[in-house]
Amino acid sequence: MAPRMTLQTQLILQALLRNPARELYGLELSQETGLLPGTAYPILLRLENQGWVTSRWEDIDPHAEKRPARRYYRLTASGAAQAAAAIATARRPSRLALRGLAGEGGHP
């Protein structure tokens, strides 16, 4: 079953589709989409549960790097194809909705 194509879901899929082989972490995704990381998380969880997205923890020593490990997300092969098809058929977001999203100001 395909996930619900909300505006936020479309934005996340578009960001991941720009380079399907590239892995993005939560904050990077939020900077690319304009969503706050907490808003993006349940969407990524939903996409992962559907098998569209796969994720992994960054392999670092948090103490040596002095920052926590990042969780990287990328589209699966089947997920990329399904996402591209879903975005092509999804309803285009209205200008008003996009302006509202810009108002969320999620550029941490």
């Binding site: 907490g38 349940p42 969880l45 992994r56 002095k66 926590p68 969780r71 999620g106």
Partner: protein, 195 residues
């Protein structure tokens, strides 16, 4: 007279003689994990709101369909609060059995996760309180989902500019009920249909 049953190994030590675990006993005014009472109260209020929202929405939608009223409505209302309190006790028991040391230990369970104490050391007192509330929300999620959610939030907080910490934290808190419901639904679906 019936003979005593044969011994099958070393006798199980009684609880009274159990070895010390190294934990400090709780002191007056503070729970065992050292969290101030006011913050624990805040956490429990938040948990209560989440459980009320989730179960309340399920029950109210059911009540609309059944047409609850009068005595049946009252009994249903009381049963709802009884069930809510049982859920709380069960969740608390599970958390303790996992060895997570209640609210404070859950973030350390994620193997790839961050060192939350280092994050906590740099964030503001207000954000620190928010972090405790987030730990409480993570506590309501299934075994793997909670620590992962918390670890990701800590990762985002650690790299976000200080002016954005509160907004990032609130974004996680506002979507916490959805993550709780979704992760439990996924967890139960996996339990029922493992493939």
């Amino acid at each position: 007279m019936k003979p005593p049953p044969p011994s099958t190994g070393p006798a199980r030590p009684s609880r009274r003689h159990a070895p010390a675990t190294g934990r400090t006993p709780s002191s007056a005014g503070r729970p065992r994990d050292g969290t101030p009472r006011a913050e624990v109260a805040l956490v429990y209020i938040y948990l209560f709101i989440i459980v009320i929202c989730v179960t309340g929405s399920i029950l109210s939608s059911a009540a609309v369909h059944i047409g609850f009223s009068g005595v049946a409505g009252f009994v249903g209302f009381m049963a709802y609060f009884r069930i809510t309190s049982i859920i709380f006790v069960k969740i608390n028991d599970n958390c303790s059995r996992r060895g997570s040391q209640g609210l404070s230990g859950i973030a350390e369970q994620e193997p790839g996760g961050p060192a939350p104490d280092e994050v906590l050391a740099v964030i503001s007192p207000l954000a620190r309180t928010g972090w405790r509330v987030m730990r409480a929300a993570a506590w309501l999620m299934p075994r793997t989902a909670g620590p992962r959610w918390l670890a990701e939030a800590a990762s985002s907080l650690a790299e976000a500019p200080p002016t954005q910490w509160l907004r990032v934290m609130l974004s996680y808190l506002f979507t916490a009920p959805e993550v709780i419901v979704r992760s439990w639904a996924y967890y139960l679906a996996r339990r029922i249909r493992p493939d």
